[in-house]
Symmetry: C2
Subunit: 206 residues, 2 copies
């Protein structure tokens, strides 16, 4: 693309650095901002700058927070002995939306991924093992994505905490609620058979 | 969505104001920026702010430019008597990429669209008619999208300039180069038959 203006080119290039946004989309977004009042650009850039510079991670669970201890960790009505291990803040939000979980979280900040160059030392694993060591925790629930990276991360953490003899569980894999059986992939269907549950307990959760 | 941080929520909401970007995509982009060094956010916000506040529109053709007269209008080797009427800067870039056009442009800044509330007075139409009136122009080429809004805009401008007896043309509508005939829609195919060209002139442009 040949741009008629350096300012435009620069803005498009910076927006196109974002994941999943190509040059054409970046151009569309930038031209949209140009058509809007300049206040919109100002609000956008201020919100991003403020967020990037002032955001705090909870000292206990590493979740994104406005304080040094997040609202969930600060909530005394929650069960602090159950820790749900998740990848990032989106997973915390997804689980909170279910209103089914009353324990606390531990946000790893990613998954072990040799391809993307993410090693265990870049994740918040040491502080999790430390929590287990200090016997503050009775159960760890792994709630990572059901991918090779997720399974690797689960296994890596499990190896480090199994000596402390606490309950370690993982969220159930199976047929999604509302799904037709014939369209389910065979691995998921196989696992859902293997890990079948008593019918009576399935009624209770409805 | 319930956010664990006001700063995060604010940033996500501002990014989600952009066209075609929903809350989930906005969240993904914002979390990406959080994982990158803060310099990337700084470069992005600075580029957007600078672009929005300092960008200049060419006084002659209304294209986005770094100077009061853009490079194309400043180029004395181009034919200033042929004016190609386009919607926005993306169309200028697309036509420039063909390297087939040596005239100048007139950027309208949009199309007449009652649905989106864009009236002729919001577009750069008066200055185009003025150029024609002053007899600076020998040919006007309409190169707007082949939509109802594009056709309306073409017709609106045509009515205002036809009294000045200049050549008014529109870019050819027809089968795209490389397209299979059987997949073309009937309107396009019909028009391409109606506006057929001598075979010899089609060879020349290859």
């Amino acid at each position: 693309m040949e741009f008629s203006s350096k300012l435009l080119e620069n803005a498009v290039n910076e927006v196109a650095m974002l994941p999943g946004i190509g040059k054409r989309t970046a151009m569309r977004l930038v031209l949209h901002l140009l058509k809007q009042p300049s206040e919109q650009t100002q609000l956008l850039t201020e919100a991003l700058t403020k967020m990037r510079n002032e955001i705090i991670y909870c000292q206990n669970c590493h979740n994104i927070s406005d304080n040094t201890i997040c609202e969930i960790c600060n909530n005394t009505t929650r069960d602090h002995s159950i820790v749900c291990v998740v990848e990032d803040v989106r997973d915390v939000m997804a689980i909170e939306n279910t209103r089914m979980y009353k324990g606390i979280y531990h946000v790893l900040g990613g998954k072990i991924s040799p391809i993307e160059g993410i090693s265990p030392s870049q994740l918040n694993i040491i502080s999790l093992v430390e929590k287990v060591k200090q016997q503050k925790v009775s159960e760890i629930i792994f709630a990572l994505s059901s991918t090779m990276e997720g399974d690797t991360t689960n296994f890596y953490i499990f190896k480090q905490i199994k000596e402390f003899n606490i309950n370690v569980s993982t969220i159930a894999r199976g047929i999604s609620v509302g799904d037709e059986l014939e369209y389910a992939d065979e691995v998921t269907l196989g696992r859902s058979l293997l890990h079948r549950i008593p019918f009576e307990s399935s009624i209770k959760s409805m």
